[in-house]
């Protein structure tokens, strides 16, 4: 339990540090920290419950990305302003170190499996983010194409000059 609390706390501290390095605006810091706490909490919970790497990372990233989609929509900023800090605790730094360290020691099979795990973690994170963005699209974006065209055409140009809706969307 003590380790978990330490991990959550340090994850938030590290996220705050990284957010400053990414030049985030100070007033976005509280929500970014909350999001990273949420992501890390879900990751640790699922990891303790199910084990493995792919599913915990995916669900952690999913929750973090959904949180940042909601925050981004509320405050009208790009999603990546919240998303980037949120998924920082999941970034597979430890695994990458294991890979390198195995390489130095000449342990090729170990390096291979660690490298593969790193890729799996990265894959899990990005799957979670994509899932969240699709879910957010379905939840919030209903009819927003039309809203966008309304806003875009509101100038003196009128609506008939605006971009036709994207065929894929």
């Amino acid at each position: 339990m003590r380790t978990v609390i330490i991990m959550l706390l340090t994850a938030v501290v590290a996220t705050l540090g990284f957010s400053i390095l990414f030049y985030i605006q100070p007033r976005r810091l509280p929500l970014a920290a909350l999001g990273s706490l949420l992501t890390c909490g879900v990751y640790l919970l699922i990891k303790w419950w199910l084990g493995g790497e792919f599913i915990p990372n995916m669900l952690g990233a999913l929750v973090g990305a959904l949180f940042s989609e909601i925050c981004a929509r509320r405050t009208a900023v790009p999603v990546s302003v919240y998303l980037t800090p949120c998924i920082i605790p999941l970034v597979p730094g430890g695994m990458l170190y294991q890979t390198m360290s195995s390489l130095v020691q000449g342990d090729l099979p170990g390096a291979g499996s660690c490298g593969l795990t790193t890729l799996i973690i990265a894959m899990g994170i990005s799957c979670g983010i994509v899932l969240a963005s699709v879910m957010a699209m379905l939840l919030f974006h209903r009819g927003s194409r039309r809203a966008v065209r309304h806003t875009a055409g509101r100038g003196r140009t009128g609506r008939r000059h605006t971009q036709p809706p994207h065929p894929e969307k």
């Binding site: 957010s19 100070p26 998924i87 390198m100 806003t151 003196r156 605006t162 971009q163």
Partner: protein
């Protein structure tokens, strides 16, 4: 949906500057919200290039530029972007066309500027502003600094120290990692332009590896691996690897694969740097466990 209206209501805080610019300097075509195809595309391109420069993903760049062109009354616009290049063509209702291309040399993560540019593009799409005003507010955004420079070093201290503890290091390991993180940020902020990204990754990870071993040898911290993991997070391309895979899953296959290869190469360069440092220490001192 009411959401867009509420956003439009939130907006006024940001576009507060451009209208006053337009009012105080009514030269050129102030008052008219549309220009000829070339001017419109120039502004859209400036906004797009600045977005890409601040680390926006390709999809957002294309989307923003298309919307800006539409807001100024383009009949059709085709925008294609990859992380280092934007090309766009635009057709006006009267049949005049313009096409432009922009090479974007280096990108970095600047979330504060990203947010400002996004706000600018939203305000443009809501009410098209005169083109010189847009250029002026872009110029202001380029000068925008959300936090003072010295705070970045504090950020690096927190980031590296926090991660050393996160991965199970002791308090002293965290202190050592924070110290090294500070030095690495110093190195990164004062690097020469001739040293490219890859070489810089290799050099700074070599330095970080040496410093980690040195710290443990001097008695600050006890686990070389935890200290190194903490400092690795500072320049690990894990974030861009995730973004690359996300780009590919979203359908931007070309930019995704470009970013993925770049991230893998950077990870390789970092690995080489750390390996060289650790191997050197093992050779000189002997018996330092890696």
């Amino acid at each position: 949906m009411p959401k867009t209206e509420s956003k439009a209501a939130v907006r006024p805080e940001v576009p507060a500057t451009p209208p006053t610019d337009a009012a105080s300097a009514p030269d050129g075509q102030a008052g008219s919200v549309t220009g000829d195809a070339r001017e419109i595309l120039t502004v859209a391109m400036e906004v797009g290039a600045e977005l890409l420069h601040c680390g926006a993903d390709v999809h957002r760049v294309e989307d923003t530029m298309t919307r800006i062109c539409a807001a100024y009354g383009a009949a059709r616009s085709d925008v294609f972007a990859i992380p280092s290049l934007i090309t766009a063509e635009l057709t006006m209702p009267d049949g005049s066309t313009a096409s432009r291309m922009r090479r974007v040399m280096n990108t970095y993560n600047h979330l504060g500027r990203l947010e400002k540019i996004n706000a600018l593009s939203r305000s443009i799409c809501a009410t098209p502003q005169p083109l010189p005003a847009v250029e002026e507010s872009l110029e202001n955004i380029r000068k925008f600094r959300p936090v003072p420079e010295w705070l970045c070093y504090v950020g690096a201290l927190f980031a590296t120290g926090g991660f050393a503890l996160f991965f199970g290091g002791s308090l002293y390991d965290g202190l050592a990692a924070a110290l090294i993180g500070f030095l690495l940020t110093l190195l990164e902020r004062h690097r020469r332009a001739v040293i490219n990204d890859m070489a810089h990754s290799a050099i700074s990870s070599f330095a970080a590896g040496l410093l980690a071993v040195l710290c443990v040898a001097l008695g600050l911290g006890s686990h070389v691996d935890k200290i190194i993991i903490g400092t690795i997070m500072l320049e690990i391309p894990g974030l861009s690897m995730g973004n690359a895979l996300r780009d590919m899953l979203c359908g931007d296959t070309i930019s995704g694969s470009l970013r993925l290869i770049q991230a893998l190469l950077r990870a390789l360069m970092m690995a080489m740097g750390y390996m060289a440092a650790l191997a050197l220490c093992a050779y000189v001192w002997g018996g330092v466990q890696v």
